[in-house]
Symmetry: D3
Subunit: 254 residues, 6 copies
């Protein structure tokens, strides 16, 4: 049906940690041919609106190399402004991470997440979130290791995946660029390891979708998320167990 994989199958996902040497957390994530460098930097201060409140902040920036895509894009620094698409994505990444990190426990620090797409083939925002989560855990883990903070302030795993509806009405998981450009509906789902929604963005460009289609897409997303969480666990090593415990505790608590 689909060129080379089943409708509910992810592309090959790889997470390479410590990719760049300077950042506190650095990851190269690939979803098939989509490759994103996710760097997490820790800055010892917060933006003005948070000062003197004893809590931290997470903010994200997203960009593509000009030739990450089939056609070269003009560099946003040359244009002198960031596009609406870029803004939407970086706001999404920041919001998503803030949902699983306990900002009260990181002190007056800002986590800067930089997601730079070096090669694009669809799903750059979902790869960014999934990789950024790993970079954040590694960066925060260092703060725990060097005793700057007491415990890892991460409440659950966080992954993102795209689902969509092809013109023939078929729902699919993890769209590559070619599929994405044909799809009538495109939905990005950000979920925790516990299966809670963090963000849901479904869009019909010159098309609509029904409640039934929504249900099917959300089921596919759930499958993808489970696979991604497994890969994240491998990537973060000892911290996986810490998050799992907290996750169980959190569920119990509710």
């Amino acid at each position: 049906m689909r060129k080379d994989r089943k409708v509910n199958e992810l592309r090959t996902v790889k997470i390479e940690t410590n990719y760049v040497k300077h950042p506190e957390g650095s990851v190269l994530i690939s979803f098939g041919d989509t490759k994103v460098i996710c760097n997490a930097s820790i800055e010892d201060r917060v933006p003005p609106f948070l000062r003197n409140q004893g809590k931290g902040w997470i903010t994200a920036e997203y960009a593509m190399l000009p030739r990450a895509t089939e056609q070269r894009n003009i560099r946003e620094s040359s244009k002198g402004k960031v596009s609406g698409r870029t803004m939407e994505i970086q706001r999404l990444i920041g919001r998503a991470l803030r949902a699983v990190v306990d900002l009260d426990k990181i002190g007056e620090r800002t986590l800067w997440i930089d997601c730079d797409v070096i090669q694009a083939d669809g799903g750059t925002r979902t790869a960014s979130i999934t990789g950024a989560f790993v970079a954040v855990v590694i960066a925060l883990g260092k703060l725990v290791d060097n005793k700057t903070i007491k415990e890892l302030p991460v409440e659950d795993f966080l992954t993102a995946i795209s689902v969509g509806v092809l013109p023939d009405g078929k729902e699919i998981l993890d769209l590559c660029y070619e599929e994405d450009s044909q799809a009538h509906v495109d939905m990005n789902v950000v979920m925790t390891g516990a299966g809670e929604f963090v963000e849901l963005q479904g869009t019909g460009e010159e098309a609509t979708f029904s409640m039934t289609q929504l249900q099917t897409m959300l089921s596919l997303a759930q499958e993808g998320v489970n696979d991604l969480v497994k890969l994240q666990k491998e990537a973060i090593g000892k911290w996986a167990e810490v998050i799992e415990k907290r996750q169980t505790a959190g569920v119990a608590e509710e």
Copy 2:
């Protein structure tokens, strides 16, 4: 439970047509204390990427008067750039309208939608979409009346409404500003008159939501949409019937 209305109740919604004299379609819409001027302008050309394809385009811009809000906001023209929030909203409005207007039937024309919030109390983007739809129908109706185009190229009604989850876990419809600023989950639902989704944007800021909560919120949204469609029908007069016919035809077709 809720200050002055039931959880599944809209605020008082009013749609005043022909509010400003120059635009082809002009509406003042209020959702309670939220008031938005929605103007639709028709330009006889399309953006470069669509030239010579015989089809049209819809694009939207959104802004707030500096003192639409409790605290005065800096004017975006003074800042010299449009915020990420503004960009997200205007992209959303444009996408939503393109889902129900048949762009192939409006010729090489651009519909400019300007949504200017003169008073804000939550739900400015949903009021904008709901009002903009009426302005668009009026503007396109004029093209039909003066025989520039043959028939009204509008495939269904289009409305938007917010739903959310309060800190106590209660799901509610059409959040005012005070509710919105407390809510753990905020979701905007754009739907057609036929009950199809056009856009779904659910966000947990430093929180998450379950599948059950999602279902409840979507049911509330459906109720709100039904009420809004009734008001749109009154506002657009003779065109309501035209759209209803097409809507039935469309459903039959599927």
Copy 3:
């Protein structure tokens, strides 16, 4: 001679107070088909160049909705900069109001005046100044009512009106857009209730004017100002008397 009114006649002028709920002072003023929302906001600090001097400041911003005009204008926030015309007008509004408000008596506060034209048909800057004055009195009146300041620090009424010379040499008062675009000379006169000039801006675009024409135009302006002051008095209610007293005192003093 003139389509529907005498050369020395104003268009229908209306001043609606408390138009928007959040601002300290809010007015919708219309000069015929020209409609401007004038909001006055009070901020409890002054710009850096005035800090610690115990006095206040008044600054103004002016904008038009994109479709306030016959042809849609590009939004200045989208262009990323404010036009020269906008800058001139907002500087004029601010300067004019500072001439009648005693800045030493408002404490270290800034009055932000926002004039947003929702429908334009000539004379938007004169309507803005005339309406802004009313919004300022209402805003400052609230400071008196809640005893933040002792007395209304407004020294006189302030109105603005346009005069011009038509191609046939005839001088006229309060030009609508059609007249304005034909006029050889365009002059804006800002005057106090006592008949003193605050600002005089006369311009011949590819034309000139004589001393005699100047005199005639100034007489017309004086007539218009008298009518506008009457309407302002009605709009500001109890504060009218306070200003009248001060105005008489001021004249006596000189």
Copy 4:
């Protein structure tokens, strides 16, 4: 009364022609310690809004060297935007020159006027206009000399001068910086050689002025203009006579 000259006396005014070698017209003008380089450049095309109409355009730009003033100003190119003050002045210069040049007779050409203040001591805009007129005549004269156009399309002389009211109520001509910063009223008058007004901009910053004061200021301005026209005649040599003839003809015509 006044430090070193009578109230109706200009500062020493000098006009040096051919100051810079590249421009078609180049002038260094000084009004006392105020020194402005006025260059007129001829470009063989017009802005888009005038294309294919067979007529020309005049546009002006104005700037100050950062250290033209007592305190160094930040360069507008570094700030990335032109201030409101600069915009007002350059719009004024362009408008003023368009009033005396017959744009229909210069063909599809743009005259670029660049007024760069190298030393400022009050009256930079009036010096700019007065000097720019000379640069324009020289530039247009070259077009006549090389037979590109048939006759000098300049209808009259054009000068500008400031007048004002000191705190003691005394009206004065040609304010230097110190006087300007004290003055209650500041008025710039742009006049033709025939004594017609081209532009009148009177401003009371936190003050007002009466009709009587206006009359006195306008008389002073007329005196100053007469002196400036004499200096312009010397500077433009043979072209003075041509303009005088046209001026007489123009007056006869009216």
Copy 5:
């Protein structure tokens, strides 16, 4: 003397070709811990100033990921402008490549060079030029292979290397970041395979250097260049021989 290598020794240099899949030429080059992605894109048109002249153009852009450095840098797209340093470097890269590519033989095409530093440890501009040359040869080679152009229009190899003077007066080759930040003199040398200079930029920041020091630095640079050319030859495979022939021919010609 030097931590881990001789004064005339390069760091480990690696050139990985076909690093990203979309660009016509793509290289990941490392000079020790400095890593730069160099992409060459071919666009079938030239900038306006070259149109209809039958020749091509090469232009370069340079950027660093925010966390390529020890401290995170603000993204230039967020700042809304490109820094002076970035501009200098990208102008240098473009100029350097234009010196060895025969622009008359590439037709009306633009070669866009994108150098994106993913990890920085000194020498990013020299690594960029050295890597960009390889990307350009690969991209142009494809044009030859698919017969778009007849022959490889590359006249010689092109490499760049830094040299400098340490505070103790010792001249060294290929400075890492730590050395660079201490050095009194920093010189970048761009050379052809034939040993001709393309660009020489020597700078003493708060210091100077003598003719003798210059000579020593240039000798060191020559040594480094020889090593880099060897690595470039390996990276470009069959094209190395083509360039060598042309290089010999060129030398004979002179």
Copy 6:
């Protein structure tokens, strides 16, 4: 051989001091038809990165009047950004001056250097540096005279000159615009009075140069520098001797 002077001959160089009245140091320098106003301003604070370190800073800005050149250039303030060329030049001027001024001895002050080209005919950056040095000495001299600082913190003379290679292979000194636009190689040399290099920038635009050509160019530059230092000595009067002493001392010290 060369139109009007020998290959090793400078154009007529003139240095006029106290050209503008407000700056602490002001110079009009001409290299033939190239004329630059160099103003040095002293500000009693330093940029943030230097605060509380007890040392000062020198920064430079460079601009051309729009019609300094044969063709009018768009004003950088109108474009809203500074070009790469301008940035390179102003960074160069600042760096060059910092090499000969002892920043530790000027206190927490910033020297702002403004180089404004009023007429351009090649060599504007070398004229700027040579003139700026004189303006700086005059400005710092005033600080010594009024006992703000103890001694003139200038370690040596500083001049700059261009050298190049013509298409016929001939090396020449001090290129005028016509020569510069033909030259295959263009090199700017910044040197101290003692003959040390401060900055060396040699560029082959679509060309290269040999070691022999480099040597010849550097010898020419040395000759030019000697002549320029003589003129600087005349311009700075009594301070020449102070610098000479320090220069000798400095050489002895090494």
